[in-house]
């Protein structure tokens, strides 16, 4: 009996090991022809597109890796989203969706493993680095020959696509604007201290001082609130300086290309030193929340929604839809929810405005068996202006939106009236799926249900979008270099450390820069700058 039991146990354990083996994917037939140019023509929105040319093989199955910007699996919306895509494209999708907060780490490990999914969603700095290493398929020809290119030209958004070009080549397709952060101020706090939204640095300081020393929240206690808070003094990924634009102004503490095309270490420039002095000034004065050093964005939002001790009145956060979400957060706490999404102060405007970060992109792996087919039948369809783009923008029917007669959050809708549904996770209405309609690059013109942007996008988000689009500058891509791969990790850590210490008054500017120089970081940065400048020659 013991022998039989031992044998069964051993067999079970062996089987459990064998089950870990990944099934070998069936290779799809190779397509040897380049995609053909198709005239932009009407397509029947109710059916998947007809094969444009028999020369490009349609893949039967593709593997996709994406972060938390696709619908959530727990609510069932993800399954509906994937199923609808499969229905529209006729392609089976094998999805990998790591946890959103660790997506970049996991994706890095996936790339390092050598087993690359066919379709990869990624952002700077990984996009340019991996493109340089040959991870992604060059989609330049395919994009420029596509009708998407023409529609982008007509929509006036072609520059957003071209901003993803690296040395004249495109390796990733942006499907929405990168977006950036704008400064929001609680109107009730401004009214309480008798000030208007600031238009320059002096007025900004006056607002911060009033919020920090007076009683803007009306609890009867002076000086228990802060002017502004942020998630860290400086972020660890580009564009690094999104959350305190009034402090940074035209400074950029990493590698930056000047107007004459030369690259420099922005940390050594005078405007950066001035920015660090401003940071230290508002910290020492108590205008800047000391917890900025440790804050995650969630902490910041929670403190912003509160109105008690430790809260703050000025918050630079994501533009467009967050103008509405922040308002909802304040309403939920019973706080006056009127927010002013401010135009940039003069000094930030002179620098070009708020930063519109480089967009996330959809890339095709260079190891994919049929990249032309993946482009033609899947990636380019994301912005087809029809059903696929509608799905990617508004989500799956009956999960994210509906046209049935029903009452949602106390609002009655008639049969046929488009309305968003409630997100069971947080009891607020869904605002969009993967593509933020406020960051749309090409319009939806060809779907069964007309694009409901005009009715669904909240007034706050829409007004913010207009203001941001008019007052923003595109972030640039820093090309990867060998010296960058070698030293960037240490340089970024050291700069962040010195910036924090200068801000908190632990180091003077002189001490910080001496440490930067004496520690060899300045020399390493100079190597990177030299290689960057050599790239252009």
């Amino acid at each position: 009996m013991k022998k039989v039991f031992a044998l069964i146990l051993a067999a079970l354990m062996v089987l459990s090991l064998a089950a870990c083996k990944k099934p070998t994917p069936t290779p799809a037939p190779q397509s040897s022809q380049a995609p053909q140019t198709q005239p932009g023509g009407e397509t029947d929105p109710a059916k998947p597109s007809e094969d444009p040319t028999p020369a490009i093989e349609k893949p039967t199955e593709i593997s996709v890796i994406v972060n938390g910007t696709w619908p959530d699996a727990a609510t069932g919306a993800l399954d509906a989203f994937v199923k609808k895509q499969e229905e529209l494209t006729g392609i089976k999708i094998k999805l990998t969706k790591p946890d959103h907060s660790s997506y970049d780490d996991v994706l890095g490990q996936v790339i390092a493993s050598g087993e690359w999914p066919d379709v990869i969603y990624t952002c700077e700095p990984y996009y340019s680095s991996w493109a340089q290493q040959g991870v992604f398929w060059d989609m330049t020809e395919a994009f420029e020959a596509s009708d998407l290119y023409q529609r982008a030209v007509e929509a006036g958004s072609i520059s957003s696509f071209k901003s993803e070009y690296l040395n004249g080549h495109m390796y990733g397709l942006p499907v929405k604007r990168g977006n950036g952060a704008v400064t929001y101020i609680k109107k009730a706090w401004l009214d309480a201290v008798g000030l208007d939204a600031p238009t320059n640095w002096e007025e900004y300081l006056a607002v911060l001082e009033a919020f920090s020393t007076k009683d803007p929240d009306g609890n009867g206690i002076d000086g228990d609130t802060y002017g502004v808070s942020a998630s860290k003094f400086i972020q660890t990924e580009p564009p690094y300086i999104m959350y305190l634009p009034e402090v940074w102004q035209d400074a950029y503490p990493y590698f930056v290309q000047k107007e004459d095309g030369t690259w420099v270490d922005g940390f050594l420039e005078d405007n950066c030193k001035e920015a660090l002095e401003r940071m230290n000034y508002i910290y020492e004065k108590g205008y800047l929340d000391p917890d900025t050093l440790n804050n995650a964005t969630q902490n910041c939002r929670d403190k912003f929604y509160d109105n008690g001790p430790g809260s703050f009145g000025v918050f630079t956060y994501w533009a467009c839809n967050w103008a509405y979400k922040l308002k909802l957060g304040l309403e939920e706490k019973g706080v006056d929810s009127e927010l002013i999404a401010c135009e940039p102060i003069k000094e930030v405007k002179d620098a070009g405005g708020y930063i519109d970060r480089v967009s996330y992109v959809w890339c095709i792996s260079s190891k994919a068996k049929n990249p032309e087919g993946i482009w033609e039948y899947y990636v380019s369809k994301i912005l087809d202006g029809g059903e696929m783009q509608f799905l990617w923008t508004w989500g799956p029917e009956e999960s994210y939106w509906s046209t049935k007669a029903e009452t949602v959050q106390g609002v009655e809708y008639k049969e046929g009236e488009f309305h968003m549904l409630e997100n069971p996770d947080n009891n607020t209405l869904y605002v969009n799926a993967h593509i933020d309609p406020t960051g749309q690059l090409v319009p939806i013109t060809n779907s069964i249900i007309p694009d409901p942007s005009a009715t669904v996008i909240s007034k706050e988000a829409y007004d913010c979008m207009l203001m941001f689009n008019e007052n923003s500058r595109g972030a640039s891509i820093t090309p990867p270099t060998d010296a960058g791969a070698e030293y960037n990790g240490e340089i970024v850590s050291k700069k962040n450390e010195l910036i924090a210490k200068i801000a908190m008054g632990e180091y003077t500017l002189e001490e910080a820069y001496a440490e930067y120089k004496n520690g060899g970081y300045e020399d390493h940065a100079a190597e990177i700058v030299e290689q960057l400048n050599a790239l252009g020659k």
Binding site: K2, A10, V14, L17, Q133, G134, P290, N294, E486, E497
Partner: protein
């Protein structure tokens, strides 16, 4: 061998697992002698990565921090665990003893992420911070003199030790409580007959009984002192990297702050060095263990 063949057969999957998941990955050690970005073929560079490592101030600082933080942490933990287990042992009410032990032991089950969130809030240098608020209310400091416990190099390490003690001491007390439970009651009676008071019993009976266990725990943990990441990573921030950066967080930042393509060869070299130091520590501790535990080593 023939007699126990079925047991050997049952052990085969475990051996296969150990080979697959512990020994096979060691093939990756070869990357320590290459420049390897995870995408292109590794390029052999010999000992360049190690030379670079020993010439890098950040690495040397991280190594020093690792040894200091781990060693001191170990000393404090064992000392407090001994003291608390002795105090718990003195509680005569069994029910109260069990409740106290459970309360002390519970923080061990919290994840470090949750622990860091809690203490970041408690130690916040703002009106929301419990400790600073208390200090202001009792007049120890003014409201504009709030202390940034986790934001200053001078206070970060002491606070780290306190948090680690709070979280991990309970786990250590379990071992010492087990030892104390095994002490012969007649020894205490004999000590009482000889006129020993509470302190005398502790000095002549309890401490000697614990000595072997203390040394064993110390030696066992000493071998692992270089494995320090999670607790430091969640509590550190940009301002305290000088005193808080340890080898594993150094490798993490070197890899993920590199701007997309890290040199895995260099970070593997750092990891290999750490492992070699760990092996030396284990062997040294093994020799000590044999001396202390009647010839029984830890490996």
């Amino acid at each position: 061998m023939k007699r126990y063949r079925w047991f050997y057969l049952m052990a085969v999957p475990a051996v296969v697992c150990a080979i697959l998941f512990h020994y096979y990955p060691m093939i990756g050690i070869r990357f320590a002698f290459t420049n390897y970005n995870g995408i292109k073929e590794p390029a052999f560079v010999g000992l360049e990565n190690f030379k670079k490592m020993f010439g890098t101030k950040d690495f040397l600082n991280a190594f020093r921090n690792t040894v200091e933080i781990s060693f001191l942490s170990l000393i404090f933990q064992i000392s407090f665990a001994v003291i608390i287990s002795i105090l718990l042992n003195e509680i005569s009410n069994l029910h109260l003893k069990k409740v106290a032990q459970t309360i002390i032991y519970l923080p061990h089950f919290l994840s470090w992420v949750v622990t860091a969130s809690i203490f970041t809030l408690i130690l916040s240098p703002t009106p929301r911070g419990l400790i600073n608020n208390f200090l202001v209310n009792i007049g120890a400091i003014n409201s504009d003199q709030m202390i940034f416990f986790l934001g200053k190099n001078s206070t970060w390490r002491p606070v780290y030790y306190v948090i680690k003690l709070w979280k991990e001491t309970g786990w250590q007390t379990v071992l010492f409580m087990a030892t104390l439970a095994g002490v012969n009651v007649e020894l205490y009676e004999a000590a009482a007959i000889d006129g020993a008071g509470r302190w005398g019993k502790m000095r002549y009976v309890t401490f000697p009984a614990l000595t072997n266990t203390i040394l064993t725990v110390f030696i066992l943990n000493l071998a692992r002192i270089l494995n320090l990441f999670e607790s430091v990573f969640v509590l550190q921030n940009d301002a305290v990297l000088q005193t808080s950066n340890v080898i594993e967080t150094y490798v993490y930042y070197r890899t993920f702050n590199s701007g997309g393509i890290p040199n895995y060869g260099y970070t593997t070299a750092v990891g290999l060095f750490k492992s070699l130091v760990g092996v030396v520590l284990v062997l040294v501790c093994n020799q000590w263990s044999k001396k202390v535990r009647d010839g029984r080593g830890i490996v």
